[in-house]
């Protein structure tokens, strides 16, 4: 079935098709329509699920954790300040090894208040132990929801997944989306059957005090799970293609990178614009390609190293900045390439922060500058693209 729907509607469909038994959520712009659609599904009898209308995002994640620990698949969605409020429990979910899946609508953090696209909210949750997948379009949002349960619930992974969609560019923009048949999804995603759960017939305690003699090992096991997840995400993406005819490149999508001299790295909806510009530049004879870093955690270190080979320069486009350092994707790529024999010139471009419109000409400017610094040497390591007014050039 094909429908013209928003990213949030696609997320709601993705959740519905994954058959969660418990959903706990709290409204925040621009996530609200995700839970509204879910409420409609339940009201219309299309989804059999307990929906807890909690009094905060902190409680939303807490309720999901407890439900999942009781052996039931759970789902939630949030954004920005809501996600930040969940922070403590995001860590809890991951370290409790609960494969919860959530959708985060990437929105700027206040102050000043902003409801528009920005990656600071999810980047600030980088170290919580959640896998992070940055989606480019509405179809990917739906498909990744289903795939994320499959990856997260693998018995050798058992880590939660957060997929993200850019505020309004996806959350409130309609696109044609194929909605897979429930039977196919059921075949692809079996029911959730954890080995350990809260069960009066087999009582265990979960999360008790652990002395320093053992804590290290608990963390090491999480690290091993992340190693496995790197491979599993790629495998599941391929399997998804076999069943549904769509794939997203696993950890990193390579777009026209084969013989590229210059590489633009993008994530989220910035990558759609970059894709368009790459096509234009290719038509003009430029040897440029795009690497869309889809998965930020686990970070695709090997893919990045492979991509960097034979490239003259890499421009990393970030939609947020970490205070006192650089854009987060840039920092990761910089770290991945240090120590490599072949190291292309690397530059960071901050583009589209706080929902600033990212036009094809902005990406063209990035490319032009990248070629220039590649020839003439680096002018600055990081550029705040399009800066105007106080502190800016204009």
């Amino acid at each position: 079935m094909r429908k013209v729907i928003t990213g949030n509607h696609a997320a709601a469909y993705g959740a519905k098709l994954s058959r969660p038994g418990v959903i706990a959520a709290y409204p925040i712009t621009p996530q609200t329509t995700v839970v509204e659609y879910i409420a409609d599904f339940i009201a219309d009898g299309e989804l059999d699920c307990k929906f807890i209308k909690v009094e905060s995002e902190h409680s939303a994640m807490s309720a999901c954790i407890s439900a999942q620990n009781t052996g039931v698949r759970s789902f939630t969605a949030s954004s920005a300040h809501g996600l930040a409020l969940m922070h403590e429990m995001l860590m809890w979910a991951a370290a409790a090894r609960l494969p919860i899946v959530m959708v985060n609508i990437n929105r700027a953090m206040g102050p000043p208040w902003s409801i528009w696209a920005d990656h600071q909210d999810s980047i600030a949750q980088r170290d919580t132990g959640w896998m992070q997948i940055y989606c480019e379009n509405n179809q990917e949002v739906l498909d990744t929801t289903i795939m994320s349960y499959r990856v997260s619930e693998s018995s050798d992974i058992l880590m939660p997944s957060m997929l993200t969609e850019d505020a309004f560019y996806l959350s409130h923009t309609v696109e044609p989306v194929d909605i897979p048949d429930q039977e196919l999804v059921d075949e692809f995603l079996p029911s959730y059957e954890p080995r350990y759960k809260l069960d009066v017939d087999e009582p265990y305690g979960f999360g008790s005090l652990v002395m320093p003699d053992n804590f290290l090992e608990f963390r090491y096991l999480m690290a091993k799970a992340y190693d496995t997840a790197k491979e599993r995400i790629v495998e599941v993406d391929r399997e998804f293609e076999k069943t549904f005819g769509r794939s997203y490149g696993g950890l990193v999508e390579h777009y026209r990178t084969e013989d590229a001299d210059y590489l633009l790295v993008a994530s989220g909806t910035n990558s759609s614009t970059t894709r368009e510009v790459v096509d234009q530049l290719r038509n003009e004879g430029e040897k440029v390609g795009m690497a869309r870093v889809r998965v930020f955690r686990p970070f695709p270190v090997d893919d990045v190293r492979a991509l960097a080979k034979g490239v003259k320069a890499i421009g990393v486009i970030d939609r947020t900045y970490t205070y006192g350092a650089f854009g987060p994707f840039y920092t990761e790529i910089l770290a991945a390439l240090y120590g490599q024999e072949e190291r292309p010139l690397l530059k960071n471009y901050l583009v589209g922060i706080g929902g600033r419109d990212v036009r094809p000409r902005d990406i063209r400017d990035v490319y032009k500058n990248l070629v220039k610094v590649s020839r003439e040497g680096l002018d600055e390591e990081m550029t705040w693209h399009g800066l105007v007014g106080p502190g800016g050039d204009a």
């Binding site: 038994g21 418990v22 706990a24 699920c49 307990k50 807890i52 209308k53 909690v54 009094e55 905060s56 902190h58 409680s59 939303a60 807490s62 309720a63 999901c64 954790i65 407890s66 439900a67 999942q68 620990n69 009781t70 052996g71 039931v72 759970s74 403590e88 429990m89 809890w92 809260l198 069960d199 009066v200 009582p203 265990y204 305690g205 979960f206 999360g207 008790s208 005090l209 652990v210 002395m211 053992n214």
Partner: protein, 311 residues
């Protein structure tokens, strides 16, 4: 025979790591006797996050989920929803939090849980301060008490604020069943838990649980101290069933000063302060008697009991 109502079943193993004379340890033992083995317990940060023992040991025989400090209400909401989804309506869910985790940091999640009519039992074991972290005052600390954050210095810096009344707050939420209990009266306590199990919706039980470590009291006299709290009318045993108050014991009032003198946390208090506190407690007791009388009046008029949440 038949005189004793305390079930002989034990759902708590020996070997826990509570302090000597810990009221909270008694409280769990009695609560589980009433709740039975088909119970899942959620415990936030509090003394009871440590009492069951260090991994991989666990002294409860029922499933136990440790959670973060402020989430008990949300946690048991999630467990209940999952059990209902699995069709396990017969399994009981019990949240087990201290006074800080309930009256302070956890009050939002608790309020939401009660407002949503969640079918669970929430227990606040009240040792009247943050005992697990080392005796810091909570909003449930009684006025006048010494704690490590209300120390007795050269200026009067002891606890200046009245103890927060969680029962009133829960009654205002229209929780179908709200009760106080005491580890000194296990039969009363167990009866209340057994009754709570039969009522659909959110149940709230506040258990008076002396803490010899924090109250600076004799560990061998925990039960005696808890009894005196009841007999001085400081900790009345009562229940509010769908809005209708019943005071379970109306003892002849005993010596308030004797209760105070058993605890080092009050030793600094001047006599006029204690007299004033006693007068306030007497007024609270009189108010409770009036609440009981008034709610019975409302019952006669058909205005109470209020209907419980939908099943």
């Amino acid at each position: 025979m038949g005189r004793f109502t305390i079930p002989t079943d034990e759902h708590m193993r020996s070997g826990h790591v509570a302090c000597q004379g810990c009221g909270a340890a008694h409280a769990m033992r009695y609560a589980l006797k009433a709740m039975g083995e088909d119970t899942i317990v959620s415990i936030p940060a509090c003394c009871w996050a440590v009492i069951p023992g260090v991994w991989p040991n666990q002294n409860l025989k029922v499933p136990l989920l440790y959670t973060a400090f402020e989430v008990t209400g949300a946690s048991i909401s999630g467990i209940r929803a999952a059990l209902d989804f699995q069709g396990k309506d017969d399994v009981q869910v019990m949240g087990w939090a201290g006074d800080g985790g309930t009256a302070d940091i956890g009050i939002q999640a608790l309020s939401g849980m009660v407002e949503r009519g969640t079918n669970v039992i929430y227990v606040m074991y009240d040792n009247e301060a943050y005992m697990n972290t080392g005796i810091q005052r909570s909003s449930s600390t009684p006025v006048g008490a010494w704690t490590t954050t209300t120390p007795v210095g050269s200026t009067q810096f002891w606890e200046a604020d009245e103890k927060k009344d969680m029962v009133d707050i829960m009654v205002a939420h229209k929780a179908p069943y709200v009760a106080t209990a005491s580890v000194a009266y296990p039969e009363d306590m167990i009866r209340k838990f057994q009754k709570a199990k039969t009522i659909h919706g959110p149940k709230f039980i506040q258990v008076y649980a002396p803490c010899p470590t924090g109250w600076r009291s004799d560990p061998s006299r925990t039960i005696e101290l808890a009894k005196m709290a009841v007999s001085t009318h400081l900790w009345p045993l009562f229940e509010v069933d769908h809005g209708v108050y019943t005071i379970n014991q109306k003892p002849q009032k005993t010596d308030f000063m004797a209760y105070v003198r058993m605890q080092g946390r009050f030793r600094h208090l001047p006599e006029d302060f204690l007299k004033d506190w006693e007068r306030k407690m007497d007024a609270r007791w009189e108010t409770l008697l009036e609440k009981e009388r008034f709610s019975k009046e409302l019952e006669e008029k058909g205005l109470l009991p209020f209907p419980g949440p939908h099943e």
